[in-house]
Amino acid sequence: MELCNTPVGNQKLRIPKETMKQKMDVLQGTLALMILKTLDVLGPLHGYGIARRVEQISGDLLAVNQGTLYPVLLKLEQEGSISSEWGASEHNRRARFYRLTRDGRKQLQAETRDWNQTSAVIARFFAAKSEDFS
């Protein structure tokens, strides 16, 4: 997976309310999946690391309100899809590291399958011409 660096400069964070709401809805549905995939590819990561990777890959979806990651991480942990333990961060401070469990891996595979199926069906619909609906 490609990692792109989004430049962080003196940018005013002015995001219109409606767009933010849209992004929130999408976020709740797919953030869990993105977290699982991130951990699957990159191995154990702490919260900040996951946030950065998700931000980089999904564009500006998690550019703000990165804190919303944590309740989702907790939900996944209580479901048993990921597990966590204390470890050392880059600055040799204590950080909580999350890793994918076997159940999580299975869940990831199942959901990936579902997504691909769904998007294939939708694609067929979008490709359909007026004649096909008769």
Partner: protein, 917 residues
């Protein structure tokens, strides 16, 4: 599945709140620190880097809220918060809290007390092994086989000993079976010689399987076993823990000690554990002895003759023992019952061949987890009525506390409106207010438990009489505690809900202003507060009417003329058969003693009678006369053996013929005196003197008895009963049937003065004869009316509590209303209203509520008193006098409750009122 995992995780996390919150804080801090470092690397200043990092992270509080709601069930988090806050609020208003908690303690405590009683009587299992495996033998005594004779209390539980032996032999369905029978009808049925002194105790005869079948492990020594039943076996006895404490001071050397029981030497071989009280709730034998048939020690202290056979072992049809059994493993109660019913059927029909099969009674096996249900059956309805009454008291207490809460609402208005304004949801606030209510309720319940512990014991003492003590285990068990807890929570929700809704329905802007001249207040109809007062008055009326009916019932009974003179009458019983007196010797003893007593200076008159009036026991026999055309006319007749001078000593007039006197001896012809009821029933106005009757359902001329007198009817057995036909016999002519007799002594002055003389008289004749049941007739009658007395007392207490609560509530509401309306009153007075008008206005408001409550209460009472119609006497459930008097009292007290605040309103100085903000 996932939801289940998350829920379980949430439950587990209930206990790790602090660590969880710490962890989140650390994670957030680390995240922000890493982002800050990144920003610094990208070129921002450290301050700006941190600011941007925080902005990017987002709002911490709402995220923490989401996190926490995922981590645990938020309900519990807020519950802890609510409880802490509730405690603080309650402590802030100590006076209010104290009054509310006390009121609730009274209401909940009373309910717990009655429930403890219900639990002890009806719900507690026998303190034996696996009581649910025990079965009690019973038969339908509506189908009476003619050969049966019964001695004891409840005939449906009585069987003959030979029948029991047959049951016991059915080991294929019963793993063990045992029988027991008391040695008399009261607690003093056995004479125990301790250190040469005769004392009285409560004794029972039991068969060998009693203790082992019940599964009772003795505290000391052993129980009775089968070997003890063999004739010629050494005589052994087992005593109860209570008796051991009472008489022997828990002497450890009790095992092997010899005592004289009814003059026979027994060895004590065991002591039962303190929790064991036998198989009948409410009674506890002191001594158990093996089953036997001795002249000094017979079932029910009866003597052979007339209905009771020569030996209990051979008396096929003398129903006198109770039977219980334990089912064999794998056998159901139904199976055992059908198998044993066949046995019973054959047993009955061996001596009787009815023309119709359906007339043969059947055997039933009832579950015996709570033992022989004699007490339960007798007290079920009264206990339920008491529970209903005390439940009503609790309802009033709830309404009262709700009124208090509403009154306090104004003090908290600002607090509530501020909380609503800064975003608290109404359901959340209501939940918090309910937490306060339930907390108050729980505090009240805790105090109530203390009240109840005392109250239940007082109740049991009230329900006991000296000759039949009620022994109950009233210690609070899990059921009682659970009941109290549930009652407390429900009470808290009940009285807290409406005020909580009311309080949180506030118009914010107006409420946050400080002025008393609130538009909202004046418009507010305070409907909830008013309806609570009306409710309290209505329910109080119902309780007071109930109390009134019960009090009148008691008075009616106490004033009822039972046909004999109860003044200055003292009685005591003797059972010389325990000391070896029988037949002629017994008659001689009684006769000598009677002469002695009659010659005592303080004694106006004295006589003998088989059972003291209202002792509660009677002999009932089928009696027949020769009717038309040689056909027998037969009725069930109550009979008593009496001594000479009976009718004059008891004050029962003889209206025809003569009374029984000293010339009626064993040598002279057998005679009897009948009563009016007998004469009317059998002879329909014909002159009965000289006629003859006999026992049994067919007139037997050879064994007939001549009627020599007719006495006025008198009720001598049960104050509640209707008059039955009675026949009085000369005791001297019935030597065969004689056992216990009571001496009735009419004292010149107060009965207490002659007690010591009576004791001496008996002692001089034979020091080994203890006096049983020494009582005045007034005490005996009071004991017979103990249920009426209990109800009159209790319902009066409940009614008074209810009245007090309702009136204090009314007073409080009116006083508060006056305080609130001070401004308005000031305006009225300034505009020309006279003080008298103000007084009238306030009183009118209060009395309207009271009258409305009385009206509703009367309607409720008309429906409710039907439930107690079987318990009242001399008044109908709709007695207008009672209703009127109670209503009048209530209105009068309500007037007083309104008058005091009305007087205060009257004294309002308009100048001050108008200035008051």
């Amino acid at each position: 599945m996932k939801i289940l995992k998350r829920s379980l995780a949430r439950l587990r996390n209930l206990f790790s709140r602090h660590q969880d919150d710490q962890r989140l804080k650390e994670e957030i801090a680390e995240h922000v620190a890493l982002q800050t470092a990144e920003n610094i690397r990208a070129g921002l200043s450290s301050a700006e880097a941190r600011r941007q990092a925080l902005l990017k992270f987002g709002v911490v509080e709402s995220m923490t809220e989401d996190y926490r709601s995922e981590r645990r069930f938020l309900f519990f988090d807020t519950l802890v918060q609510d409880v802490r806050y509730a405690f603080r609020m309650l402590l802030k208003a100590p006076g209010f809290t104290a009054v509310a908690v006390l009121t609730l303690a009274l209401g909940i405590g009373a309910n717990t007390a009655i429930f403890s009683l219900v639990d002890a009587v009806m719900l507690k299992s026998l303190p034996v092994k696996n009581p649910q495996q025990l079965v009690l033998f019973q038969w339908d005594d509506n189908k009476w086989a003619p050969q049966f004779g019964q001695t004891g209390w409840d005939s449906k539980y009585s069987f003959s000993y030979p029948a029991f032996q047959q049951f016991r032999a059915q080991t294929n369905v019963l793993s063990s079976a045992f029988a027991w029978v008391p040695l008399g009808f009261n607690d003093e049925n056995m004479t125990v010689g301790i250190n040469g002194q005769p004392t009285l105790a409560n004794g029972q005869m039991v068969t060998g399987d009693y203790f082992s079948g019940l599964g009772v492990t003795p505290l000391l020594g052993r129980g009775i076993n089968e070997a003890d039943e063999n004739p010629g076996a050494p005589r052994v006895a087992v005593i109860s823990y209570a008796y051991w404490s009472r008489r022997f001071a828990r002497d450890a050397s009790i095992i092997g000690r010899n005592v004289a029981l009814n003059g026979i030497s027994f060895t004590i071989v065991g002591v039962t554990p303190s929790s064991f009280y036998g198989v009948q709730v409410g009674t506890e034998p002191d001594i158990w002895v093996p089953f036997d048939d001795k002249p000094n020690m017979r079932p029910w202290s009866t003597q052979p003759g007339g209905g009771t056979a020569a030996s209990v072992y051979t008396a096929r049809n003398w129903l006198c023992v109770n039977v219980m059994a334990r089912l064999q493993n794998g056998v159901t109660r139904a199976q055992a019952q059908s198998s044993l019913d066949v046995l019973f059927h054959n047993y009955v029909t061996a001596d009787w061949h009815p023309d119709n099969e359906s007339r043969v009674p059947h055997l039933f096996l009832a579950q015996a987890t709570e033992g022989l249900p004699q007490l339960q059956e007798g007290t079920a309805q009264p206990l339920y009525i008491l529970m209903a009454a005390v439940g009503l008291v609790l309802l009033i207490a709830c309404a009262n506390v709700a009124t208090l809460l509403l009154a306090r609402a104004s003090a908290r208005k600002k607090e509530i409106s501020v909380r609503l304004a800064i975003g608290a949801s109404r359901p959340r606030l209501i939940r918090q207010l309910l937490t306060e209510s339930v907390l108050m309720s729980l505090l009240g319940a805790a105090l109530g438990l203390v009240f109840a512990a005392w109250g239940t014991r007082a109740l049991v003492a009230l329900m006991s009489s000296s000759s039949n003590q009620l022994i109950l285990d009233v210690n609070a068990d899990a059921k009682v505690l659970l009941f109290t807890l549930v009652a407390a929570v429900l009470t808290g929700i009940l009285f807290g809900l409406a005020p909580a809704f009311r309080i949180t329905r506030i118009e914010l802007a107006a409420a946050m202003k400080d002025t008393a001249a609130n538009v909202s207040d004046a418009r507010d109809k305070h409907r909830l507060g008013k309806s609570l007062i009306v409710f309290q008055v209505a329910v109080s009326l119902v309780l007071m009417i109930g109390a009134g009916l019960f009090v009148r019932t008691l008075v009616n009974f106490e004033n009822k003329n039972f046909g004999f003179d109860q003044q200055n009458l003292l009685s005591f019983g003797l059972d010389p058969t325990r000391a070896g007196y029988h037949d002629a010797r017994l008659v001689s003893l009684y006769s000598q003693l009677l002469d002695r007593i009659q010659s005592l200076p303080g004694v106006k008159a004295a006589t003998l009678v088989e059972y003291a009036p209202f002792y509660g026991v009677a002999d009932n026999n089928d009696t027949s006369i020769e009717g038309e055309g040689n056909k027998s006319v037969s009725y069930n007749v109550r009979s008593q053996m009496v001594g000479p001078d009976f009718f004059t000593a008891m004050g029962i007039p003889i209206i025809a013929g003569r009374a029984i006197n000293r010339t009626d001896t064993a040598a002279s012809p057998k005679i009897a005196v009948i009563d009016e009821t007998f004469a009317r029933k059998f002879f329909h106005g014909q002159y009965p003197i000289g006629q003859r009757f006999s026992g049994g359902d067919k007139f037997d001329p050879k064994n007939s008895i001549e009627i020599v007198g007719v006495a006025k009817s008198a009720e001598l057995t049960d104050p509640h009963a209707e008059l039955k036909p009675k026949a009085y016999y000369a005791y001297a002519q019935s030597a065969k049937y004689l056992d216990t007799m009571f001496f009735e002594v009419r004292a010149q002055g107060a009965p207490a003065n002659i007690i010591s003389e009576l004791r001496d008289a008996v002692y001089q004749l034979d020091p080994g004869l203890p006096l049983m049941d020494l009582k005045t007739q007034t005490e005996e009658t009071a004991d017979a009316l103990s249920q009426e007395r209990l109800f009159a007392r209790l319902t009066t207490v409940f009614g008074l509590i209810a009245l007090l609560l309702a009136m204090v509530g009314l007073y409080g509401t009116m006083a508060y209303s006056v305080t609130r309306k001070t401004h308005e009153i000031g305006i009225r007075m300034a505009l020309g209203a006279k003080p008298a008008n103000v007084l009238a206005m306030v009183i009118r408001q209060g009395i309207t509520l009271a009258l409305l409550g009385v009206a509703i209460g009367i309607v409720l009472a008309l429906g409710a008193t039907r439930l107690i119609s079987s318990m009242i006497f001399g008044v109908t459930p709709y007695d207008p006098v009672t209703f009127f008097v109670v209503a009048a009292v209530l209105v009068a007290v309500a007037f007083l409750a309104c008058f005091i605040p009305a007087r205060r309103a009257m004294r309002v100085d308009p100048m001050i009122a108008l200035r008051y903000e």
